[in-house]
Amino acid sequence: MQLNLEWAGAVLVVTVTDPRIDAASAVDFKDGLRKAVPSEAERIVLDLSQVDFIDSSGLGAIVAATKALGPNQPLELAGLTPKVASVFELTRMDSFLTIHATRSAALAVAAANG
Protein backbone atom coordinates (compact mmCIF):
# COMPACT_ATOMS: atom_id res chain seq x y z
CA MET A 1 0.00 0.00 0.00
CA GLN A 2 1.56 3.22 -1.25
CA LEU A 3 1.16 6.26 1.03
CA ASN A 4 2.55 9.69 0.18
CA LEU A 5 3.42 11.99 3.11
CA GLU A 6 3.56 15.75 3.06
CA TRP A 7 3.55 18.32 5.86
CA ALA A 8 1.59 21.55 5.87
CA GLY A 9 2.81 23.06 9.12
CA ALA A 10 1.77 20.63 11.85
CA VAL A 11 -0.78 19.00 9.55
CA LEU A 12 0.28 15.73 7.97
CA VAL A 13 -1.32 15.07 4.58
CA VAL A 14 -1.36 11.35 3.78
CA THR A 15 -2.24 10.61 0.16
CA VAL A 16 -3.28 7.08 -0.71
CA THR A 17 -1.86 6.46 -4.19
CA ASP A 18 -3.32 2.97 -4.62
CA PRO A 19 -6.67 2.92 -6.42
CA ARG A 20 -8.29 0.49 -3.96
CA ILE A 21 -8.59 0.13 -0.19
CA ASP A 22 -10.22 -3.29 -0.12
CA ALA A 23 -10.02 -6.64 1.65
CA ALA A 24 -6.73 -7.32 -0.12
CA SER A 25 -5.07 -4.14 1.11
CA ALA A 26 -6.90 -2.95 4.24
CA VAL A 27 -4.50 -4.49 6.78
CA ASP A 28 -1.54 -3.10 4.87
CA PHE A 29 -3.19 0.29 4.74
CA LYS A 30 -3.86 0.34 8.49
CA ASP A 31 -0.28 -0.70 9.28
CA GLY A 32 1.14 1.81 6.82
CA LEU A 33 -0.91 4.64 8.27
CA ARG A 34 0.03 3.76 11.83
CA LYS A 35 3.74 3.80 10.96
CA ALA A 36 3.42 6.97 8.90
CA VAL A 37 1.94 9.18 11.60
CA PRO A 38 4.44 10.55 14.19
CA SER A 39 3.34 12.07 17.47
CA GLU A 40 4.22 15.57 16.15
CA ALA A 41 1.26 15.46 13.75
CA GLU A 42 -1.47 17.64 15.25
CA ARG A 43 -3.99 16.80 12.58
CA ILE A 44 -4.03 14.26 9.76
CA VAL A 45 -5.68 14.79 6.39
CA LEU A 46 -6.20 11.56 4.49
CA ASP A 47 -6.35 12.47 0.81
CA LEU A 48 -8.46 9.82 -0.96
CA SER A 49 -8.73 11.59 -4.32
CA GLN A 50 -6.75 8.83 -6.05
CA VAL A 51 -8.82 6.05 -4.49
CA ASP A 52 -11.47 4.72 -6.81
CA PHE A 53 -12.95 1.96 -4.62
CA ILE A 54 -13.32 1.16 -0.95
CA ASP A 55 -15.16 -1.75 0.63
CA SER A 56 -16.22 -2.47 4.22
CA SER A 57 -12.70 -3.69 5.13
CA GLY A 58 -11.24 -0.38 3.97
CA LEU A 59 -13.96 1.52 5.76
CA GLY A 60 -13.26 -0.48 8.92
CA ALA A 61 -9.56 0.31 8.63
CA ILE A 62 -10.25 4.05 8.41
CA VAL A 63 -12.61 3.92 11.40
CA ALA A 64 -10.05 1.91 13.36
CA ALA A 65 -7.24 4.35 12.50
CA THR A 66 -9.39 7.33 13.47
CA LYS A 67 -10.22 5.73 16.82
CA ALA A 68 -6.61 4.70 17.47
CA LEU A 69 -5.27 8.20 16.78
CA GLY A 70 -7.93 9.60 19.08
CA PRO A 71 -9.22 13.15 19.59
CA ASN A 72 -5.73 14.63 20.01
CA GLN A 73 -4.72 13.66 16.51
CA PRO A 74 -7.91 14.07 14.51
CA LEU A 75 -7.99 12.19 11.21
CA GLU A 76 -10.00 13.94 8.51
CA LEU A 77 -10.85 12.77 5.02
CA ALA A 78 -10.59 14.71 1.80
CA GLY A 79 -11.22 14.27 -1.91
CA LEU A 80 -13.66 11.36 -1.88
CA THR A 81 -14.41 10.13 -5.40
CA PRO A 82 -18.06 9.20 -6.16
CA LYS A 83 -17.94 5.43 -5.47
CA VAL A 84 -15.98 5.99 -2.27
CA ALA A 85 -18.31 8.76 -1.09
CA SER A 86 -21.35 6.56 -1.63
CA VAL A 87 -19.97 3.85 0.65
CA PHE A 88 -19.44 6.38 3.45
CA GLU A 89 -22.97 7.67 2.97
CA LEU A 90 -24.55 4.25 2.71
CA THR A 91 -23.05 3.18 6.04
CA ARG A 92 -23.77 6.61 7.60
CA MET A 93 -20.07 6.88 8.43
CA ASP A 94 -20.16 10.34 6.83
CA SER A 95 -21.94 11.57 9.95
CA PHE A 96 -19.24 10.30 12.31
CA LEU A 97 -16.14 11.29 10.37
CA THR A 98 -15.01 14.70 9.17
CA ILE A 99 -15.03 14.82 5.39
CA HIS A 100 -13.78 17.69 3.24
CA ALA A 101 -14.46 18.09 -0.46
CA THR A 102 -10.81 18.57 -1.32
CA ARG A 103 -7.43 18.46 0.29
CA SER A 104 -7.07 22.25 0.04
CA ALA A 105 -10.45 22.72 1.69
CA ALA A 106 -9.24 20.45 4.49
CA LEU A 107 -6.05 22.49 4.88
CA ALA A 108 -7.94 25.78 4.83
CA VAL A 109 -10.16 24.59 7.67
CA ALA A 110 -7.15 23.26 9.55
CA ALA A 111 -5.40 26.64 9.18
CA ALA A 112 -8.51 28.52 10.35
CA ASN A 113 -8.82 26.23 13.40
CA GLY A 114 -5.18 26.92 14.22
Binding site: R20, D22, A23, A24, S25, F53, D55, S56, S57, L59, G60, A61, V63, A64, T66, K67, G70, P82, K83, S86, V87, E89, L90, T91, R92, M93, S95, F96, L97
Partner: protein
Protein backbone atom coordinates in the same frame (compact mmCIF):
# COMPACT_ATOMS: atom_id res chain seq x y z
CA UNK B 1 -34.68 -2.71 2.28
CA UNK B 2 -37.08 -1.16 -0.26
CA UNK B 3 -36.08 0.68 -3.40
CA UNK B 4 -36.49 3.88 -1.44
CA UNK B 5 -33.84 3.16 1.13
CA UNK B 6 -30.84 2.87 -1.15
CA UNK B 7 -30.58 6.51 -2.06
CA UNK B 8 -26.82 7.02 -1.90
CA UNK B 9 -26.05 4.32 -4.47
CA UNK B 10 -29.19 4.95 -6.48
CA UNK B 11 -29.50 2.88 -9.64
CA UNK B 12 -30.26 5.01 -12.68
CA UNK B 13 -32.66 3.68 -15.31
CA UNK B 14 -32.01 3.79 -19.02
CA UNK B 15 -32.51 1.55 -22.00
CA UNK B 16 -28.98 1.02 -23.20
CA UNK B 17 -27.96 -1.79 -20.85
CA UNK B 18 -28.35 -5.36 -22.03
CA UNK B 19 -28.16 -7.78 -19.09
CA UNK B 20 -25.45 -10.37 -19.73
CA UNK B 21 -25.73 -14.02 -18.81
CA UNK B 22 -22.37 -14.96 -17.50
CA UNK B 23 -20.74 -17.32 -15.05
CA UNK B 24 -17.64 -16.30 -13.17
CA UNK B 25 -15.43 -18.62 -11.19
CA UNK B 26 -12.87 -17.05 -8.92
CA UNK B 27 -10.28 -18.05 -6.32
CA UNK B 28 -11.36 -17.58 -2.72
CA UNK B 29 -8.58 -15.11 -1.92
CA UNK B 30 -8.63 -11.33 -1.47
CA UNK B 31 -6.68 -10.87 -4.71
CA UNK B 32 -8.86 -13.38 -6.56
CA UNK B 33 -11.95 -11.39 -5.55
CA UNK B 34 -10.33 -8.15 -6.64
CA UNK B 35 -9.49 -9.64 -10.01
CA UNK B 36 -12.97 -11.11 -10.40
CA UNK B 37 -14.61 -7.76 -9.63
CA UNK B 38 -12.44 -6.22 -12.34
CA UNK B 39 -13.64 -8.77 -14.89
CA UNK B 40 -17.27 -8.29 -13.93
CA UNK B 41 -16.88 -4.54 -14.20
CA UNK B 42 -15.49 -4.94 -17.72
CA UNK B 43 -18.37 -7.21 -18.70
CA UNK B 44 -21.03 -4.87 -17.30
CA UNK B 45 -19.52 -1.77 -18.87
CA UNK B 46 -19.43 -3.60 -22.21
CA UNK B 47 -23.11 -4.51 -21.69
CA UNK B 48 -24.03 -0.83 -21.41
CA UNK B 49 -24.27 -0.31 -17.65
CA UNK B 50 -23.16 3.08 -16.38
CA UNK B 51 -20.11 3.61 -14.23
CA UNK B 52 -22.44 4.35 -11.29
CA UNK B 53 -24.40 1.13 -11.81
CA UNK B 54 -21.18 -0.85 -12.04
CA UNK B 55 -20.09 0.75 -8.78
CA UNK B 56 -23.34 -0.37 -7.13
CA UNK B 57 -22.79 -3.94 -8.28
CA UNK B 58 -19.13 -3.85 -7.31
CA UNK B 59 -19.66 -2.84 -3.69
CA UNK B 60 -22.33 -5.51 -3.10
CA UNK B 61 -20.32 -8.24 -4.78
CA UNK B 62 -17.18 -7.18 -2.92
CA UNK B 63 -19.00 -7.63 0.41
CA UNK B 64 -20.57 -10.95 -0.54
CA UNK B 65 -17.40 -12.44 -2.00
CA UNK B 66 -15.08 -11.21 0.73
CA UNK B 67 -17.41 -12.73 3.30
CA UNK B 68 -17.00 -16.09 1.59
CA UNK B 69 -13.21 -15.68 1.62
CA UNK B 70 -13.11 -14.59 5.26
CA UNK B 71 -15.92 -16.58 6.86
CA UNK B 72 -17.07 -19.52 4.71
CA UNK B 73 -13.65 -20.96 3.86
CA UNK B 74 -11.11 -21.48 6.63
CA UNK B 75 -7.99 -20.07 5.01
CA UNK B 76 -7.13 -18.74 1.58
CA UNK B 77 -5.97 -21.69 -0.51
CA UNK B 78 -7.21 -23.44 -3.61
CA UNK B 79 -10.91 -22.95 -2.92
CA UNK B 80 -13.18 -21.42 -5.53
CA UNK B 81 -16.31 -19.30 -5.58
CA UNK B 82 -18.85 -19.62 -8.40
CA UNK B 83 -20.96 -16.66 -9.41
CA UNK B 84 -23.83 -16.46 -11.90
CA UNK B 85 -25.07 -13.19 -13.31
CA UNK B 86 -28.21 -13.00 -15.40
CA UNK B 87 -31.17 -10.85 -16.28
CA UNK B 88 -33.90 -10.33 -13.66
CA UNK B 89 -37.38 -8.82 -13.94
CA UNK B 90 -35.96 -5.58 -12.67
CA UNK B 91 -32.20 -5.47 -12.81
CA UNK B 92 -29.62 -8.20 -12.59
CA UNK B 93 -29.84 -11.45 -10.68
CA UNK B 94 -26.88 -12.95 -8.87
CA UNK B 95 -26.18 -16.41 -7.48
CA UNK B 96 -23.05 -16.97 -5.41
CA UNK B 97 -22.02 -20.52 -4.54
CA UNK B 98 -19.24 -21.90 -2.37
CA UNK B 99 -18.31 -25.19 -0.70
CA UNK B 100 -17.39 -23.59 2.61
CA UNK B 101 -19.04 -23.78 5.99
CA UNK B 102 -22.69 -23.02 6.50
CA UNK B 103 -23.90 -19.58 7.57
CA UNK B 104 -23.72 -19.46 11.41
CA UNK B 105 -27.45 -19.02 12.12
CA UNK B 106 -28.51 -21.03 9.08
CA UNK B 107 -28.93 -17.76 7.22
CA UNK B 108 -27.24 -14.46 6.48
CA UNK B 109 -26.89 -11.93 9.33
CA UNK B 110 -29.33 -9.02 9.58
CA UNK B 111 -26.61 -6.43 9.18
CA UNK B 112 -26.96 -3.58 11.60
CA UNK B 113 -25.51 -0.14 11.78
CA UNK B 114 -23.89 2.00 14.44
CA UNK B 115 -26.34 3.79 16.70
CA UNK B 116 -26.99 7.32 15.42
CA UNK B 117 -26.21 8.66 18.86
CA UNK B 118 -22.99 6.79 19.50
CA UNK B 119 -19.76 8.72 19.37
CA UNK B 120 -16.71 8.09 17.22
CA UNK B 121 -14.83 6.04 19.80
CA UNK B 122 -17.64 3.53 20.17
CA UNK B 123 -18.05 2.97 16.43
CA UNK B 124 -17.77 -0.60 15.19
CA UNK B 125 -14.73 -1.34 13.02
CA UNK B 126 -16.39 -4.18 11.14
CA UNK B 127 -19.75 -5.69 10.39
CA UNK B 128 -20.64 -3.16 7.69
CA UNK B 129 -20.67 -5.86 5.04
CA UNK B 130 -24.12 -7.32 5.52
CA UNK B 131 -25.61 -3.93 6.17
CA UNK B 132 -24.41 -2.78 2.74
CA UNK B 133 -25.67 -5.96 1.07
CA UNK B 134 -29.15 -5.68 2.60
CA UNK B 135 -29.34 -1.97 1.95
CA UNK B 136 -28.57 -2.21 -1.76
CA UNK B 137 -29.62 -5.71 -2.85
CA UNK B 138 -33.16 -7.07 -3.10
CA UNK B 139 -34.71 -10.53 -2.71
CA UNK B 140 -31.78 -11.84 -0.69
CA UNK B 141 -32.18 -15.60 -0.25
CA UNK B 142 -29.87 -18.20 1.21
CA UNK B 143 -29.97 -21.95 1.03
CA UNK B 144 -27.62 -24.76 1.96
CA UNK B 145 -27.71 -27.55 -0.63
CA UNK B 146 -25.38 -30.49 -1.31
CA UNK B 147 -22.79 -29.08 1.05
CA UNK B 148 -22.82 -25.83 -0.87
CA UNK B 149 -23.87 -22.34 0.19
CA UNK B 150 -26.13 -20.65 -2.36
CA UNK B 151 -26.83 -16.98 -1.90
CA UNK B 152 -29.03 -15.24 -4.43
CA UNK B 153 -30.08 -11.63 -4.74
CA UNK B 154 -31.04 -8.97 -7.24
CA UNK B 155 -29.60 -5.53 -7.85
CA UNK B 156 -31.85 -2.95 -9.49
CA UNK B 157 -29.61 -1.64 -12.27
CA UNK B 158 -30.23 -1.29 -16.00
Amino acid sequence: MGEESCAPVRPTRHDAAKPPSVRVILPSTPLGVRKGLGEINTILRASGYSQEECGTVEIVLAEVLNNVVEHAYSAPGDDLIALQIGPARAGLSFLVEDNGREMPEGGPPIGKLADKHSDLLSLPEGGFGWFIIREVAHDVAYRREDGRNRLSFRIAVG
